[in-house]
Amino acid sequence: GAGVSQSPSNKVTEKGKDVELRCDPISGHTALYWYRQSLGQGLEFLIYFQGNSAPDKSGLPSDRFSAERTGGSVSTLTIQRTQQEDSAVYLCASSLARRSEQFFGPGTRLTVL
C-alpha cells in the first residue's frame, strides 16, 4: 500500500513569509507526528496527533509554528514569518496507534532565504 506522502518535496521561501507543509499519513493510522531535521540539531520531535487532537505539542520551537489535523487524516504544519533558522527538512510519520511503529515520509526540504 501507499506510504506516508508529503508535499511539497522542496520549498524555497523568503524570510518573513508564511509556509504550509502537508502530510498524508498511511490510511487507517490514527497517530501522526511531525519532526524537523537540521544539520546542527539532528532530528527533533515537534508535535504528535492522536486523531484530530494534539496531546503533545512540546516540541514546537516557537508560537510561529502550528499544526492541525482534520478528519483524522491529513495534517498541515504552518510556519509563520519564517526565519533562516527554520531551514531544515520537515518529516512526518504515522503509526497505527499510539506507541506503535512509526513510518516516515520522505520529508519537505524548506529553505528560507
Partner: protein, 113 residues
C-alpha cells in the same frame, strides 16, 4: 527526555570490513530503537530492544542492549556499499500525553566499494 549520544559521528570503511557504532545515555532507557536513513528519505525502523542484555540479529547486523539499559551497539559484519546511510538511535518520549521519539544525532556511515 534524555540526551542520546552516538559515536562515531562519521565512519568511512572499505567493503568487507566489520564495524560497530554506539548509542549511550546517562539515564536508563525504557526501550531503544535503531533506524537507518538514506538521502532523501525518512528513517526506517531496523529494530527495537527492550530487555537489558538483549541481542537481536538482522542478517549481517547485530544489535545489543547493555545490561544496565544505558547503552546499545550496532555491529555490522562484512559491510557492503548498500549499508551506507545515517544510523540513528531513538527513545520513545514518555509521561502524560507525550509520544514521539527523541533521536541521537546519528552515525554517518559510508562503505566504499
Amino acid at each position: 527526555t534524555q540526551l542520546l549520544e552516538q559515536s562515531p559521528q562519521f565512519l568511512s570503511i572499505q567493503e568487507g570490513e566489520n564495524l560497530t557504532v554506539y548509542c549511550n545515555s546517562s539515564s536508563v532507557f525504557s526501550s531503544l530503537q535503531w533506524y537507518r536513513q538514506e538521502p532523501g528519505e525518512g528513517p526506517v525502523l531496523l529494530v527495537t530492544v527492550v530487555t537489558g542484555g538483549e541481542v537481536k540479529k538482522l542478517k549481517r547486523l547485530t544489535f545489543q542492549f547493555g545490561d544496565a539499559r544505558k547503552d546499545s551497539s550496532l555491529h555490522i559484519t562484512a559491510a557492503q556499499p548498500g549499508d551506507t546511510g545515517l544510523y540513528l538511535c531513538a527513545e520513545r518520549n514518555s509521561g502524560g500525553g507525550a509520544d514521539g521519539l527523541t533521536f541521537g544525532k546519528g552515525t554517518h556511515l559510508i562503505i566504499q566499494p
